[in-house]
Amino acid sequence: MIRSFHINSVVNRGTNDITNEGVLTVEESCLHDILSGEPLIENAGITIIPPGEHNIRTDTIMDIIPISTKVLGKLGEGITHTLTGVYVMLTGVDTEGKQTHEFGSSEGILAEQLCLNRAGTPSERDYIISFHVTLKAGMGQERPGPLAAHRACDRFVQIYREKLKKLKGEMCSERHEYHDIVRPGKKKVLIVKQVAGQGAMYDTWLFPKEPSGVDGGHSIIDLGNMPVLLTPNEYRDGAIRSMQ
């Protein structure tokens, strides 16, 4: 079961929290702890981007991430809480201005570089929290660099996951129950997803501890790029983290 909690506004305020009224608060000082164990990251910042205010400059977009957490059970079963109305955008550059991209950079004016309303992008009504990382020189092109950026961003998201776990289920704005349905006698169909598995910014992780997370995940490169089978519910519960 996935319970969604809608966020109406995101504001800079003294703590990193989610209120019962649907306000998400951001406090940048959390970066001190997050970055203390990341020697490859020169610095990072957090910017709140309200809906419609996309006429700002951005570094290349590495990922768009939902804020979701397990409340009961493991990935693919039990209960997941997720936020709607706000998504995290991870961007990357190094101290010499080299964008953290693999095959084309999306740096530029956000309004021109992000196509809204797709399954994988925010809608025009959503807030975006930009987590922008500056890596040490040259580190954006080596595997540990982008990984450090994803890991730092995941630690930031984890602060909200801990708050999201504690929100009361009956306060949710939407509730969806998903069952892996067997339909005997019907045509058996398999979805095959070919994913990135060649290197630094061309990687895909599976089975994180938290939905759409990094911590605890396994790189498909380290798995030899061999096929891995997911149940439909594991897939829709955030079993894949795009590490590009």
Partner: protein, 159 residues
């Protein structure tokens, strides 16, 4: 070559993939699962992992496969091989892949006729606009319908 910003499937895309919604809610289909396969650097490894994916589909007695890709160029070698390996095993395959004007298959074979180009950019290019050339629900419905047609053609009892 690999994944361009406009074809990249973000973590959010995987979390709410329209293809999963379309196939899992179709009452005429029995969704077996989601098989995730990587794209190695080495050519022999590319052939190996795609062939293992096709062998798994065969062992699962899949009647059909829908295949997706979040990149283009070099990874077409993997994609085309997996489609061919499925085809050799008599398993109909349709799929979603960016082609546009600059991302046509770098290698081809006779099992790629059910692959739909997901290019949305008006000029048919890798625009570097995140999300622009991603698969949508309409794309998912198109390839699902096409697979049903192919499976019917492939099944003697239904002819």
């Amino acid at each position: 070559m690999g994944i361009g910003p406009s074809t990249k499937e973000t973590t959010l895309h995987h979390f709410r993939d329209p293809l999963l919604d379309v196939v899992s809610s179709d009452e005429e289909l029995d969704l077996l699962g989601v098989l995730v396969v990587g794209t190695p650097d080495d050519h022999a490894d590319k052939m190996l992992v795609g062939t293992r994916a096709a062998a798994m589909a065969e062992c699962m007695r899949a009647d059909g496969v829908i295949m997706t890709s979040d990149g283009w160029g070099n990874s077409d070698v993997d994609y085309a091989n997996t489609c061919e390996q499925l085809g050799i095993r008599g398993i109909p395959v349709t799929g979603l892949k960016f082609s546009g004007k600059n991302g046509g298959f770098v290698v081809e074979n006779k099992y790629l006729d059910g692959i739909k180009d997901i290019c949305k950019n008006a000029e048919g290019i890798e625009s570097c606009i995140v999300g622009e050339n991603n698969a949508t629900e309409l794309d998912a419905r198109t390839v699902t319908a096409l697979l049903k047609l192919k499976m019917r053609r492939n099944s003697p009892a239904d002819k």
